[in-house]
Amino acid sequence: MRPDKRGYFGIFGGKYVPEILMAALGELEIEYEKAKKSKSFKRELDYYLKQYAGRPTPLYFARNLTRFLGGARIYLKREDLCHTGAHKINNTLGQALLALKMKKPRIIAETGAGQHGVATATVGALFGLECDVYMGEEDIERQSLNVFRMKLLGARVIPVSTGSRTLKDATNEALRDWVTNVRTTHYIIGSVVGPHPYPAMVRDFQSVIGKETKYQLKAIKEKQPDYLVACVGGGSNSIGLFHPYFKSKAKFIGVEAAGHGIRTGKHAAALLMGRVGVLHGSKSYLLQDGDGQVKIAHSISAGLDYPGVGPEHSFYKDNKRARYVSVTDKEALEAMKLLSETEGIIPALETAHAISYLNKLRTKKGQVVVLCLSGRGDKDIDIIKGII
């Protein structure tokens, strides 16, 4: 589905930004609408997705995991095999091409786990764009490998010491930078959040995940899925998998981070525990206190450690198109181990949340589950080596 003209999915979305950004959002909207209709843009993006990022990514039948869980046939959509190690590059390639069309010589990004930062730094290097990435100090510590990668790729990593010292405040700082340098800078938002047109645009760039899944299942004469499972922080890999199946019968399951436990107050489950509010440019479910102050989220996974969520997910929640569940830090760590041992695939901690939920999902033999393996786990070694 498309958002309405004002960028709303039902009551969620919109443009809640300082006036100074309206010209740039208007320009981006026009450029993106043009690109959507343009065959040459599609050709160009397809070229980079295929030759540079390594698409299509495999749809792997996880035989051992399937046997271990004893229910549905489980397929893993291997976004971890994308160049840079996660699905984030699908979006940054698209947005970088738009930045070139808008003649913006500089790109900026926020990052939590550092995967979006790396994917942005990568396209910055590829297309010769100046690149600054905002990252919370806590995330810089826990995802140091990605910080190093960004620097090696020629980006500046700007530490953010305010507030949560994680993704939320990195996004605040990136927005402040954009407000200041909007004439020369394109802000590559890394998830399906932010003001319109970002949520719809990022979703469209990530929809390649679900589109490939569809034809790959067909190609091996497998039935279309009964369940689609993915983790949800801002929600880009999940929407990317879900969206092409919007009109199908597949059940969507989004897995949020329950942190220490959903009743402890230390979690990042915006859809399950939040109330509708406005943060970072759009109206959506949000973790906030009684006075409307945004709460600090918690998750062991930096990429899910965010108090908000994309507006389209809020829409899916309210109209029950998707079901949202949560998985704790501890369960995610166990799942990381499980997938590593059964399939020889080390998933990112974010992705491990989705994997963990497979334990609770009651499926029958003969059913099909597709799980978006959104990223690989190398970046998380520092976090887990003291725990596992």
Binding site: K15, E19, I20, G163, R183, V276, Q288, D291, Q293, V294
Partner: protein, 265 residues
Amino acid sequence: MNRIDKRFRDIKEKKGKAFIAYICAGDPDISATEKLVLEFDRIGVDIVELGIPFSDPLADGPTIQKASQRALEGGVTLGKIFSLISSLRKKTDIPIVLMGYYNSVYNYGIVRFIKGAKASGADGIIIPDLIPEEADELIFVARQCDFKTIFLAAPTSTRKRIKLIAQKSTGFIYYVSLAGVTGARAALPTHISEHIRTIKHLSSKPVCVGFGISTPEQVKRLSHYCDGVIVGSAIINRIEKSLPDRPKAIRDAVIFVKNMVRGVR
């Protein structure tokens, strides 16, 4: 008649310009804010903007971010801000405009917010992350009780947008002097006067300029082109410098603002 309209009418009769002071409500505490507003009234400030502290003030630079944080740490809530205004209204008639982020308003409930603000004695609202297109309900409710909705125009606004902003603004139009966040700057962009002329050409409503203004000289120069000048971060810097000595912080801020006010006279 709304106090803001009345103030601009009086200023116009005297052929003067408005000086508008922004402080963050509850920074460093509610009683300091009360004293500052009363002092500002005494030394000739025309309108006070009271900031509603928010956890994620994305249009603000470090000065106001820190002020918001101090206020939040002190336990300020919207309810306390409304009580502060009620208590101020027993002592002063200075126009008071609230300035805060949309989530504070939305979370409180738009109708409840405007009714509460109006009943406490506030005269209008500025929301830096709310464009007129997203403000239908707010405008509808505000119009019923003559509560002013002040929208912001920016250097990047097209003529079409300026027209919309002017049309939806009541009380005055807030022109943002620069591309950026709030915060004192040594130098301001050179094209401010042209932008203001464009806005004044498209609307007869008062136009006030804010963001980055930090010296009496800047205030004086800008007041030639516009109807009012807004200073915030520069005042808060004075407060911050003298903390934790609260009486001194208030005294220093008042002396600083007094010099600024002279810039528009």
